[in-house]
């Protein structure tokens, strides 16, 4: 809520003297738990992958996400946030064709919202600390990647198979997210 946002900002500002900063250990634990929940939910959603082999597509996720090199935790947070944002957007689209259980999708959206909420707070904090990695190219490459997924869905008219293929791709995304979470060390 708006007043809470300003309150949070005010409180954080007042406490900067008291060395209030991101508790990475806690963030890592929470995100990891949330991420597992997301994976579990997504597994529950996948229905019939068998006959969709023809619709398979290599979306070409950016190499540095698939095989992460040494990356700073601020960079990891930014990349994670972008991924979560985009995954959230994908599941907000018209998936009526997919024949999914709406409750499961809602639960997934809730988990994603919670993860984003935590990261938003942490990102605001590192911005205040002046550690924000503004010129991050991975984020831009990820946008191209997710744009590709979106265009694929549109081109396939949001068919059931298209959704199944996208689900499988998002599952891969979650395992990459897990690896990024591991970077959040104090």
């Amino acid at each position: 809520m708006i007043n809470r946002c300003t309150l949070q900002l005010t409180v954080l500002l007042c406490l900067t003297g008291a060395a209030l900063s991101v508790n990475y250990g806690k963030l890592r634990l929470q995100q990891r738990k949330s991420n597992s929940a997301c994976q579990t939910l997504l597994w529950q959603l996948i229905t019939s992958p068998q006959h969709c082999l023809d619709d398979r597509m290599d979306f070409q996720i950016p190499g540095e996400v698939e095989q992460p090199q040494q990356v700073r935790k601020e960079e990891a947070m930014v990349v994670m946030y972008e991924m979560l944002q985009q995954i959230f957007s994908i599941f907000r689209r018209g998936f009526s064709n997919a024949g999914w259980n709406e409750t499961i999708v809602e639960n997934l959206l809730e988990e994603l919202d919670e993860q984003m909420d935590r990261l938003e707070t942490a990102l605001e904090e590192i911005t205040r600390e002046g550690k924000f990695p503004w010129e991050n190219r991975t984020v831009l490459r990820l946008k191209t990647y997710y744009l590709g997924i979106l265009q694929y869905l549109k081109a396939k008219f949001y068919s059931r198979c298209a959704w199944t293929v996208v689900q499988a791709e998002i599952l891969r995304n979650f395992s990459f997210l897990n690896r990024l979470i591991g970077v959040l060390q104090d």
Partner: protein, 774 residues
């Protein structure tokens, strides 16, 4: 100077076909989906100087290609929005001037990424006013089919600047930052015009943004309202003093001037005037004849109930507040409209909270008025990320549809992940506006695994509490606080609560031989609690107020005895003052019953209560048994673990003796020899009076977290039947830091009195003795 030269060269060029210069001050301006190229107009008015541009996308369009919309342009800008491109990839532009066949050289611009370069356009704003709040609905910048922001639309963050549109000295404004496209600003003043402008931003990018146009709206709500009270008949004037009353009473004189009310809102006495409205039609100030409202000359509260005949058609009211000599200006004039009688002005509830009461989440709020019912709604927080008012689907909170009190206990499954709550009050047909929305975070993001608590008696006065977690791996990073509830099992005395950050601690000052129980809960800094642990109970040790080892000293004496014999003798007491908790009393008469009673002293004076009296008989003269080793001690320092002892008195023995050390874990029933194979060091039938278990290459030592019991005895090589009694070492646990908590090794002086008793029959004594020896 140089420019003139350049210009003249241009002129020359135009005439003589010499060099044309490319355009100067070229800029790329992108806002939302509009791509514009701008340059400085050429100074030369003459001729057909046109400008053309090319583009290149490294990796995709490697050759310079004509930029659509920017070919042979005569003006100073061109629009190339029609170019289909990936806005996240680098693009290169080049531009030149042309005149007929003559072309300037290409000027290449710096590579840029459109997405990073673009300015964020103004968002669309829609305002809705309540009496003390304004709801702002924001639509993301750009068109719905925007290419630039297609992945960003649901994720814009917004900054809202709100100010009061009034002239005068006090200009008030506020900036609010919102993560979501819908925000509500509360605590505003009714009947006031506020203006708002909004701009969008992205969390991960630094794009500059433009403000929306200014939108203004007035809050509703009246300052003066006629209210129909519940009993149906009485009409009263109710004034809402939202403005502050400036006090001109000087600080030190606060006591002197009596104020009629000390409410924070600065209410003071109220005077009301009424005027017939037809009088307003006549101009001239004299014709406004305001008359005092009877019964409202000096009302001490923010309302008054005048005689009902005041409330007739066509009358205006105005109100002012006063304190002492000063008074406020008159309020705005309010016309009394008989049709508007039933204007109930219920304020919104405040301070919505979710409180944990006895393991149940309860929704609570504050409310000033009585005789209302409340309604609560909730919304899943992910729904706030989407714009459009239809996506805020607030749902009724079960069990809180018509709460008569300022709290309600809905089914616990409402309290899941991030959700928002809001509450409003109703009375009859009318209801208050919705309260501020309060976010609830279940805090179940972190589930503390179950706790295991164990109690161990340390002595007759203390117990050790040990708390463990079933699955400890990740939680090391958390500062966990433990709350341990501790009580005496049998009695009804109050439970004590210990709040500790350590997982092992001692509870002192307990009663001996009493069963105590404990149950623990863990807390994280910001609130979430674990489930209560198991209940663990243990009994403090018996009897004497002496530390346990001292008690063992007295019983060590007793263990030497074989038979209890009657032996009449005189009464004579010897006093030993020792700092050791185990020692030998030599030179006793054989087959005599001796008794001992001990008291402990601290260096600076306080004495303990006398201990129990322990009695034992010395052995008969036949040396049937070797004396047990004396004073067995464990030295634990860092990784060192050394057991040492003193030989028993060997006055009547000839020949070398050997020692045997045995160990036992609490879980095992049998004692085992300390050998190379079992522990890694040989302490079986050794002649040395020490056994070194320090973990080195050969010796494994004892593992750190286990309780180990040790005992040692004297043996004659080859004659196991002559072996002495076992001398036990008190159980120890090798804590992380290595140093054993030696209860006995404080600086105590101990006074031991030995009572030589005579004439007590074995039967009379045995029961007591048995008890004491236990």
């Amino acid at each position: 100077m140089q420019r003139e030269l350049a210009n003249s060269l241009l002129v020359l060029g135009a005439i003589g076909g010499t060099k044309l210069k490319p355009p100067q001050n070229v800029e790329v301006d992108i806002i939302d989906d509009t791509f514009t190229l701008r340059w400085a107009r050429s100074r030369e008015p003459a001729g057909n100087v046109t400008v053309s541009a090319d583009y290149q996308i490294p990796g995709i369009v490697d050759n310079w290609t004509k930029l659509p919309g920017c070919q042979h342009v005569t003006s100073a800008t061109c629009d190339f929005s029609s170019l289909k491109m990936n806005v996240y990839e680098e693009i290169k532009l080049r531009i030149r001037a042309e005149e007929g066949d003559n072309t300037s050289p290409w000027r290449e611009l710096d590579t840029f990424i459109p997405f990073q370069q673009a300015r964020i356009g103004p968002p669309k704003v829609h305002l809705e006013a309540e009496d003390k709040a304004i709801a702002i609905n924001i639509s993301p910048p750009g068109a719905e089919d925007s290419i630039m922001w297609q992945l960003e639309r649901p994720h814009f963050k917004y900054s809202v600047i709100i100010w009061r549109n009034a002239s005068g000295a006090q200009t008030w404004n506020e900036t609010h930052h919102s993560r979501f496209p819908r925000i509500k600003i509360h605590k505003l003043v009714p009947e006031t015009t506020y203006c708002v402008k909004v701009k969008a931003r992205l969390l991960l990018q630094r794009n500059p943004a433009e403000f929306s146009p200014v939108h203004c709206v007035s809050t509703t709500g009246v300052i003066l309202v006629a209210v129909l009270l519940p009993d149906g008949n009485v009409l009263s004037l109710r004034a809402h003093f939202s403005a502050r009353l400036e006090s001109s009473v000087p600080a030190q004189g606060l006591g002197s001037t009596p104020t009629t009310a000390t409410a924070r809102r600065g209410t003071a006495s109220l005077s009301a005037h009424g005027e017939r409205s037809y009088l307003k039609r006549t101009s001239g100030s004299k014709s406004e004849k305001w008359a005092q409202v009877q019964g409202c000359e000096r009302a001490p509260v923010a309302w008054c109930a005048p005689p009902q005949d005041v409330f007739r058609k066509g009358i205006y009211f105005r109100v002012r507040a006063s304190r002492g000599n000063s008074s406020s200006p008159w309020s705005e004039e309010e016309k009394f409209d008989a049709g508007r009688q039933v204007e109930n002005e219920l304020p919104a509830p405040e301070n919505i909270q979710v409180i944990l009461e006895n393991d149940t989440y309860v929704l609570k709020w504050d409310y000033t008025h009585d005789n209302v019912t409340f309604e609560a709604q909730w919304l899943k927080s992910y729904l706030k990320r989407t714009s459009g008012s239809k996506s805020e689907k607030w749902a009724q909170v079960q069990g809180c549809e018509r709460a008569p009190v300022a709290w309600c206990a809905p089914p616990q499954d409402v309290f899941r992940k991030g959700i928002y709550f809001r509450v409003r009050a109703s009375r009859g047909n009318s209801s208050s506006p919705w309260s501020e929305e309060e976010k609830f975070d279940a805090g179940r993001q972190v589930v503390i695994p179950p706790l295991i608590v164990a109690l161990k008696p340390l002595s007759s006065h203390s117990l050790r509490v040990s708390i463990g977690l079933q699955d400890q791996t990740e939680l090391q990073h958390y500062p966990l606080t433990y709350e341990v509830s501790f009580w005496e099992n049998a009695s009804n005395t109050e439970r004590k609560t210990f709040v500790e950050q350590r997982a092992d601690f001692t509870v002192p000052s307990l009663k001996p031989r009493t069963v105590y129980c404990a149950i623990a809960q863990a807390l994280l800094e910001d609130g979430p609690r674990s489930q209560p642990s198991n209940t663990a109970c243990a009994t403090t040790e018996a009897g004497a107020q002496l530390p346990a080892c001292l008690k063992k000293a007295t019983s060590a004496l007793a263990s030497v005895a074989q038979r209890i014999e009657r032996r009449p003798a005189g009464h004579r007491r010897k006093t030993f003052v020792e700092q050791r908790a185990d020692f030998t009393v030599p030179s006793l008469k054989p087959r005599t019953v001796y008794c001992a009673i001990a008291q402990a002293l601290l260096e600076d004076g306080p004495r303990s209560q006398p201990s129990n009296t322990a009695c034992a008989t010395t052995e008969a003269d036949s040396p049937s048994q070797l004396p047990a080793p004396q004073n067995p001690k464990i030295r634990l320092y860092n990784t060192e673990q050394v057991l040492s002892w003193e030989p028993g008195s060997l006055s009547h023995e000839a020949g070398p003796v050997v020692y045997q050390v045995q160990f036992k874990y609490p879980s095992s029933r049998e004692w085992s020899d300390v050998t190379v194979s079992s522990v890694g060091v040989n302490c079986s039938k050794i002649s040395a009076t020490e056994c070194d278990f320090t973990p080195t290459g050969q010796s494994r030592g004892f593992l750190h977290y286990f309780n180990v019991s040790l005992r040692v005895r004297t043996e004659l090589p080859g004659l196991p039947e002559r072996a002495s009694a076992w001398a036990s070492v008190p159980w120890f646990q090798h804590y992380r830091n290595g140093a054993q908590r030696k209860h006995c090794n404080r600086s105590l002086s101990e006074t031991i009195k030995i009572v030589e008793e005579r004439g007590r029959t074995p039967e009379k004594r045995s029961k007591e003795d048995l008890e004491r020896l236990a």
